[in-house]
């Protein structure tokens, strides 16, 4: 069992939750007589990335990172999306790519040497396990949560229940049980 596989087990369900969050944002916009696509360029500070970029990187980080961990070349992230429809398509593709990987694909990934190009001539060098723990996980959650925070800041009615949509089966009610 590869510990680095936690990346896939975390990112796939959380991205599914993000898709449901975008559905809620669309419904909220519709109910307010607005277009959800107006949220695409929303951001929390003038020099922060907009929603489209946050969604793009939330998808790109774990898929490209997983590729590096199992010895597949990462393709550049390309351009961000302009519509909710395109963002949802991107998320669905990322979820499908992540869910196509299994624990066996990650055999040996914990100890593999990973090199990720950064800006200019700089590279990030780490063993696979540290790469997941110290870079991919914080980075993934940063973009995912900031996407949620942007929509909350825009007035979309969301809660932790949406953010953690997949954990219902783990919550038991002692009064009911």
């Amino acid at each position: 069992m590869s510990t680095a596989f936690i990346l896939i087990q975390s990112a796939a369900p959380m991205l599914r939750n993000l898709a449901a969050i975008l559905d809620k944002a669309e419904a909220h916009a519709q109910a307010s007589g607005k277009s959800a696509d107006d949220y695409v360029d929303a951001r929390l500070a003038p020099d922060m990335f907009n929603l489209a970029r946050q969604v793009q990187f939330a998808c790109y980080g774990p898929t490209a990172g997983a590729g590096r961990l199992i010895g597949k070349l990462a393709v550049p992230p390309g351009d961000p999306d302009a519509t909710f429809t395109a963002m949802k398509t991107r998320i669905a593709a990322a979820v499908a790519a992540l869910e196509a990987m299994n624990a066996g694909d990650f055999a040996g990934a914990d100890d593999r040497d990973v090199v990720q190009p950064m800006q200019g001539t700089r590279v990030l060098e780490a063993k696979g396990l540290a790469y997941v723990r110290d870079w991919l996980m914080p980075n993934f959650y940063f973009h995912l949560v900031t996407a949620y925070d942007i929509l909350r800041n825009q007035g979309v009615d969301l809660s932790k229940r949406d953010y953690l949509g997949h954990i219902g089966p783990m919550i038991r009610d002692a009064a009911v049980a």
């Binding site: 069992m1 510990t3 936690i6 087990q9 975390s10 369900p13 959380m14 929390l44 500070a45 922060m48 914990d110 950064m118 200019g120 001539t121 700089r122 590279v123 990030l124 060098e125 780490a126 396990l129 540290a130 723990r133 110290d134 870079w135 996980m137 914080p138 980075n139 959650y141 940063f142 949560v145 900031t146 949620y148 925070d149 909350r152 800041n153 007035g155 932790k160 953010y163 953690l164 997949h166 954990i167 783990m170 919550i171 038991r172 009610d173 002692a174 009064a175 009911v176």
Partner: protein, 183 residues
């Protein structure tokens, strides 16, 4: 796997809390340079019905302390009272206490943690029922990173100049300049 599980939990908590303490220092410096009260950030939030900075940090510390209690099999989790923090220094002290709690947990104390059944009281009559590995992955990390990121986002929204190198300051040690290395 046991040692990796211990490292995954404790290194994550330690790095991210350490980064956020430095982020609060930067926020204080920024406020002072603008003639603002740094402690006004303590109640700042992104939406009227979202938790302010102080509660994001309280939640992060609760998640860390709960995880340590459960993974070291140290008995019942302690539910915190109302957060009475009013200053950035209060919030830093809260995070320092959580850091000390993490540092007190040894790899041996985590023995069997990832496969042990977890039944943790939440709010009201609700419980989290799963195993240790799932608790860390599906409960602790999503809540912890939510609070870490939202604390950072609140301060960015308030105009504090911050960047990824502040949020993930620990990765500086993993970055090599190939131009320099080749010379």
């Amino acid at each position: 796997m046991s040692r990796q599980f211990y490292d995954f939990a404790t290194v994550t908590f330690t790095q991210m809390l350490t980064n956020l303490i430095k982020v609060l220092d930067k926020a204080a410096d920024h406020a002072k340079s603008q003639g603002l009260d740094p402690d006004a950030y303590v109640e700042a939030k992104l939406a009227p019905d979202m938790f302010p900075l102080k509660l994001q940090i309280q939640v992060a510390c609760v998640q860390v302390n709960d995880a340590i209690t459960i993974f070291t099999n140290a008995g019942e989790v302690v539910r915190p009272g109302a957060c009475t923090d009013t200053t950035l220094e209060d919030l830093k002290a809260r995070m320092s206490a959580a850091l000390a709690n993490v540092a007190s947990a040894t790899p041996e104390s985590f023995e069997g943690a990832e496969t042990r059944v977890v039944d943790m009281p939440l709010f009201g009559t609700k419980h989290l029922v799963t195993d240790g590995e799932s608790m860390l992955r599906d409960w602790t990390f999503p809540h912890f990173y939510f609070a870490m990121t939202t604390a950072y986002d609140i301060l960015r929204h308030e105009g504090v100049p911050l960047g990824k190198p502040d949020f993930a300051a620990h990765i500086g040690a993993m970055i090599v300049d190939r131009a320099g290395a080749a010379a």
